[in-house]
């Protein structure tokens, strides 16, 4: 795969400025105090920055504090404002500091003063972006004397602001296709509770000032940067705002030999993966260095003779033959090309490109370079012409010389504030799986009119996009605004384990659970149509043979269930060793276990061997516990005898390596332990399907 070079952009700086004054702890009974919400927002944000290993620096300013600690503290000015942390890369200390030291205090401070202190912090050091995030309930009387000066300075320094309040700014404001960014403009759907409640005079006045500030900084979109606490927790607005912009890919779009247009590409959408993978550490010491992995190469002879890696070369299968083909030769003979390119092969009708045949894991947006107006006009002509003709360009795209060239489509994309081409990779002939399936226009499956009517009303009841009174289309379920739950959950657990070692992992956060569920309005509405569907369509599950079995089920005295199912059956053996077994009587257990082992062994695969070893370990442990070694030892003795004839040497070697001592009452030395090799590596991979992206792909598409 191609590795994206990290943008060597300067880092950005951000001040988290949070109101901890006494009004923040006030809340109607049954509702979460604004303070708690605001703290969660900050934690979530810092957590995300820590786990993304962001180099962006962050400071924490609290206001409404009992103490005063800030550089502007002079002559009784700027009181009750505390700089908790100077600009630094966020880390676990900051997370711990927030967890343990950010608590409700009893003063009230002018939030404009706190803003000034935050601005002051940003003036030290060189950063490419300056941001201030202000979280407050606006309950304090504010002196607006210097508002103009403050606004002027914010503009001059290029500081962007984001405000977070416990309540929404407007009753309901829609902003379809706001342009900019990639959120398609139409972000933020549903209104939040707490709107109708009357705001205090101070809060209303505060909102007016916020509006003034934001609109003077950015006339068009300023108000887009005002959020509620709950929005902030559930979505990534704050994070998105300061996120580093993707790398630019400058190139020329060429049509034939003499027409070229300078363009710059940016990844717009991509299957984002976590940067870190799990490493293996020793269970006792937790040290990575204590664990070593080694790969050896063996001949396929009886002795499995080891050979040095340097004595091996690579080859490829050609039918029943294997053709030696060294890396050097391969490199020399391989397909070579001229490198970076975005060349038009021709133009075709938009509808001849099938959405379901998009390839790759990204879309790239192509613009003209910022400073090149001529390129801008030329590209605009192409985009407009394509759009009007309802056509797309088919292009050859190569990222650079080292990367394989692709064929793809460049679609015109015209938004209110910008135009661009959207590039998506298309398949090669070799990629296509042109499977055919039996037609569903089959008398057996043709739905009746009443069945179709049931489906019709189900769909109507489950429409996620509806027009409101004003004819505005409201989308109540925007997947592209949900943070990836896998990341959220992992960060939550890592954060917890880092800050509270030794305690069990927390449950999933409620907001995340809710975000992944059907909206409650839909659930209610579809109730009746769904019941109708159930009545109209009889569905009957065919008895399944391959069910997930727990340890308890395996040991059920059911001799009829003998044959091990080929592939898919999975035994949760972890559960066996975790005590289910202790309740089973020893002799019965022994029988079941050995029976099971026999079955597993008949599969001749490392995967099953490991399961067997776990079985045998359990057997051993239980025998020791029950003080009855005879059954175990004699079984193992007979197993050992049978090995040479059954061709299970590999398994036996694995077993010998895997057990601390094989027989009960014996030292390991007494058992012949040939330094045989094993396939434990494979097994390790099976047990811990890591966060590796290629592994993921493999699981998705190959198996």
């Amino acid at each position: 795969g191609k590795r994206e070079k990290m943008a060597r952009a300067a880092k950005s700086a951000l001040v988290l400025c949070m109101d901890v004054g006494f009004s923040m702890s006030n809340s109607p009974p049954g509702e979460e105090p604004p303070f708690d919400q605001a703290k969660k927002v900050i934690q979530k944000f810092v957590q995300r920055q820590v786990f993304s290993e962001s180099k962006d620096e962050m400071a924490l300013v609290l206001f409404g504090t009992d103490a005063t600690k800030n550089p502007l503290d002079q002559d009784g000015q700027y009181q009750h404002i505390t700089v908790r942390r100077q600009l630094m890369a966020p880390d676990f200390e900051l997370l711990e500091e927030i967890e343990n030291h950010v608590r409700p205090e009893s003063q009230q401070t002018d939030w404009l003063d706190a803003l000034v202190v935050s601005m002051d912090l940003l003036q030290k050091g060189k950063y490419d972006r300056l941001n201030i995030v202000l979280l407050t309930d606006l309950s304090t009387q504010v002196s607006s004397d210097n508002l103009d000066v403050i606004i002027g300075n914010l503009g001059k320094l290029g500081i962007t602001l984001q405000f977070f309040f416990p309540f929404p700014m407007e009753e309901e404001e829609h902003n379809e296709e706001g342009g900019g960014g990639d959120g398609d403009g139409d972000r933020r759907g549903s209104s939040r509770p707490g709107v109708g409640k009357g705001l205090s005079r101070e809060q209303k006045q505060g909102l007016e000032m916020v509006r003034d500030i934001m609109l003077s900084l950015d006339e068009d979109e300023g108000l887009d940067q005002v959020y509620t606490f709950s929005e902030a927790i559930e979505q990534l607005f704050m994070f998105k705002h300061i996120e580093r912009r993707p790398m630019a890919w400058p190139c020329q779009l060429t049509i034939g030999s003499s027409l070229s247009i300078r363009i710059v590409g940016y990844k717009a959408v991509t299957d984002e993966k976590l940067k870190k993978m799990w490493i293996t550490v020793d269970a006792q010491t937790s040290k990575r260095d204590d664990v070593k992995r080694e790969t050896v190469y063996c001949l396929d002879d009886d002795n499995e003779t080891e050979v040095q890696k340097d004595d091996t070369i690579q080859g490829f299968r050609y039918g029943s033959d294997i053709v030696p083909f060294s890396k050097v030769d391969q490199e020399q003979m391989k397909y070579k090309h001229d490198g970076k390119c975005f060349a038009v092969l021709g133009f075709t009708k938009h509808d001849s490109i099938h959405r379901h045949l998009f390839m790759g894991s990204q879309t790239i947006k192509m613009f003209a370079p910022k400073d090149d107006e001529h390129a801008g006009v030329a590209l605009s002509a192409l985009i407009q012409a394509l759009d009007k003709l309802n056509m797309v360009a088919i292009v050859r795209y190569a990222y650079d010389r080292r990367c394989n060239p692709q064929v793809g489509a460049a679609f015109p994309c015209i938004k209110q504030t910008y135009e661009c081409l959207v590039y998506v990779q298309l398949p090669f002939m070799e990629d296509l799986r042109q499977f055919s399936f039996p037609s569903l226009e089959n008398k057996k499956f043709t739905p009746s009119e009443s069945q179709l009517a049931a489906v019709d009303s189900l769909i109507d009841s489950m429409m996620l996009v509806e027009e409101d009174e004003n004819g505005q289309k409201e989308d109540m379920y925007k997947v592209h605004e949900i943070p990836n739950p896998a990341f959220q959950r992992l960060f939550q657990c890592l954060h917890h384990r880092a800050v509270n070692p030794g305690t069990p992992l927390p449950t999933m956060e409620q907001w995340l659970k809710d975000a992944l569920e059907r909206p409650s309005a839909i659930s209610e509405r579809c109730q009746a149509p769904l019941e109708e569907m159930k009545r109209k369509f009889p569905l009957k599950a065919v008895e399944k043979k391959k069910e997930l079995k727990t340890g308890a089920q395996i040991f059920e005295p059911d001799a009829k269930k003998s044959k091990v199912d080929e592939e898919e059956e999975e035994f949760n053996l972890a559960k066996i060793s975790e005590g289910n077994v202790t309740s089973v009587r020893a002799r019965g257990l022994c029988q079941q276990l050995t029976h099971r082992i026999e079955q597993l062994l008949s599969n001749r695969s490392t995967h099953y061997y490991m399961k067997c070893i776990t079985c045998i370990q359990t057997f051993r442990e239980q025998s020791v516990k029950l003080g009855n070694a005879d059954l175990y030892n004699s079984y193992l003795q007979s197993l050992k005898k049978s090995i040479p004839n059954s061709g299970l040497q590999v398994f036996w070697d694995l077993l010998v390596q895997g057990m601390i001592s094989l027989f009960i009452g014996e030292e390991k030395k007494e058992v012949e332990t040939e330094p045989a090799v094993d396939d434990a590596g494979d097994v390790d991979d099976l047990v811990s399907v890591c966060l590796n992206s290629s592994a993921l792909k493999y699981l998705m598409f190959v198996s």
Binding site: G181, I255, S258, M359, R396
Partner: protein
């Protein structure tokens, strides 16, 4: 001619599915060679086996005039009895101890009346063909052009397998007449239709429809290399073992744990905890609701889509619900938003289920299967925020000129029109090495713009357009700014330990470049396997913490 076709069958089999067993049998030969020599005039040139380079060379030897002579010497030509040939083939199949999943017999011939109207022989051949078909053998006719035309109806229509029945509507290709077609046909890639997953499409509590998940397209890669022992070229296998560095004893998975390092802190988890973190739901496709088609954004693409098709064998009644949903979604122009968990311990993704109606071509061959295409939708994390530059938009004159250019370069796009030059070249190279060819066959790079043709077609349009959009002084081909030459040999940079420690302490290690970090690793004797910056940094931090 025959040898060209047979060679192409062999070479394509070798590439597409080398495990398949192939035999080559000649009939109407003078000499006989078959297992029990019970058939006259049938010559088994290659027995059923996995094909390799040798066979391709064997077939190649039969090419041309010299090949014809060789064939005449070894086999000669004699009486034709297709019945005997088919009988012999059926013996070849039954001699194989393995269970064969597909059996296919291709008859290459240019004679539409092989027995010259001998009705006994014709009848015998028909009977044998019937027997073969009964045992599951599919008989294909690969006939060549014959002066006056090859008339299938004379004889062969009774020999070849009939079009497959309704229950398994396969791609039935008309027998082909031209060598080109023949070659094209046998070179088609063979991909087994196999579901990637079988899950329930859950419409709501108690309403589960079983579906299979199939790939629409998968990025094809070069096959992976096999490691060989240098001395003998025999394959070696690798074994990986995990052991304790200090004691040297082998470590079982249960004796290790998993960890990640963030901000100088190692966070350790049990393996099953790592799994639990990834577990959200049991495998299923859970319906959230529906949206109008226009809400599906073109650029919201993160991975190739998959196709859903009902699995009647798992839940009876599935096909009917599925068909009804498909019909109604198409009519109402909506797609379904679903939460998809492909397997256990796998975090969910959301998909848009877009209805796809079945399409057949004029000869009733399915070109698009019925089903729902599941388009993977991005999460907020997958969408990058861009600073979009703003430019004046083009004028109508400029746009119109570009329209002329576009119209001149129109073509009909087909998704199977472009071969991957990287893979094709690799296969040609392999073939050349395996068959001792002097040089690999050259490939055609289908994704190279045909510049000359384009220039010719566009003619003066290019200059006219340029005149409209570019001032005379502007040259779009000039490089904006000289690039920094970073990959020129740089003096190796060593970094003092104190400085390194300071970086680690201040969390500013990331400021160092990868080469500097690598050098530092070497300096402190850290063996690094990774080349990722983060891995280097982690290794250094770990080393310095000792």
């Amino acid at each position: 001619m025959f040898s060209v076709c047979v060679r192409s069958v062999y070479t394509s089999k070798i590439i597409s599915s080398h495990r398949d067993l192939v035999a080559l049998v000649f009939y109407g030969t003078e000499k006989s060679k078959n297992p029990r020599n019970s058939f006259k005039h049938v010559y088994v040139y290659h027995d059923l086996d996995e094909p390799g380079a040798k066979r391709v060379q064997d077939v190649e030897a039969l090419r041309g005039e010299r090949g014809a002579r060789l064939a005449a010497d070894t086999m000669g030509s004699g009486e034709v009895s297709l019945g005997d040939a088919l009988w012999c083939c059926s013996n070849l199949y039954s001699d194989i101890k393995l269970r064969l999943s597909h059996k296919r017999l291709m008859i290459f011939t240019c004679m539409d009346q092989p027995h010259g109207g001998d009705s006994t022989k014709d009848r015998q051949a028909r009977t044998k063909a019937g027997d073969l078909k009964e045992t599951g053998v599919v008989i294909d006719l690969m006939h060549l052009m014959k002066p006056g035309g090859f008339d299938v109806s004379l004889f062969f229509c009774d020999i070849v397998s009939p079009p497959e029945d309704e229950s398994e509507l396969g791609l039935q290709v008309e027998p082909c007449g031209k060598l080109d077609d023949l070659q094209k046909r046998v070179q088609a890639k063979q991909q087994k239709k196999r579901a990637m997953a079988r899950v329930n499409l859950c419409l709501g509590e108690g309403m589960n429809v079983a579906v299979g998940v199939y790939a629409n397209a998968v990025t094809a890669r070069k096959p992976s290399a096999i490691r060989l022992y240098r001395e003998t070229n025999e394959p070696v296998h690798s074994k990986t073992r995990t052991f304790h560095t200090q004691t040297g004893s082998l470590l079982l998975p249960s004796e290790t744990r998993k960890a990640q390092v963030y901000g100088n802190r190692q966070i350790v988890m049990e393996k099953d905890e790592v799994d639990t973190i990834k577990k959200f739901y049991d495998p299923e496709i859970f319906l959230i609701g529906f949206k109008p088609m226009e809400k599906l954004k073109l650029h919201h693409h993160i991975r190739p889509s998959v196709l859903l098709y009902p699995e009647e064998q798992q839940v009876t009644g599935s096909s009917c619900v599925f068909a009804a949903l498909l019909k109604k979604c198409t009519e109402k122009k909506v797609f379904a938003v679903c939460r998809y968990t492909p397997r256990r311990n796998y975090p969910p993704r959301f998909v848009a289920l877009v209805p796809q109606r079945e399409e057949v071509d004029e000869s009733n061959v399915q070109v698009t299967p019925p089903g729902f295409n599941a388009i993977f939708l991005p999460f907020a994390d997958d969408i990058r925020k861009l600073d979009t530059p703003q430019f004046p938009t083009a004028s109508d004159v400029q746009v119109d000129k570009m329209k002329e250019i576009i119209t001149k370069m129109r073509f009909k796009y087909r998704s199977d029109a472009f071969e991957n030059p990287v893979i094709q070249q690799h296969y040609r190279n392999l073939e050349a090495l395996a068959l001792d060819m002097l040089a690999p066959e050259s490939i055609e790079d289908f994704i190279m713009p045909k510049v000359e043709q384009i220039d010719r077609r566009l003619g003066p349009l290019v200059d006219e357009f340029k005149e409209l959009v570019y001032p005379a002084s502007y040259n779009p081909d000039s490089k904006p700014a000289a690039k920094r030459k970073t990959d020129e040999k740089k003096p190796k940079v060593e970094i003092p330990e104190a400085e390194l420690r300071a970086h680690i302490k201040n969390g500013t290690l990331g400021k160092l470049t990868v080469p500097v970090l690598k050098e530092a690793c070497k300096q402190f004797g850290i063996r690094t396997t990774g080349t990722k910056k983060q891995e280097l940094m982690d290794a250094l931090i770990a080393q310095m913490a000792k």
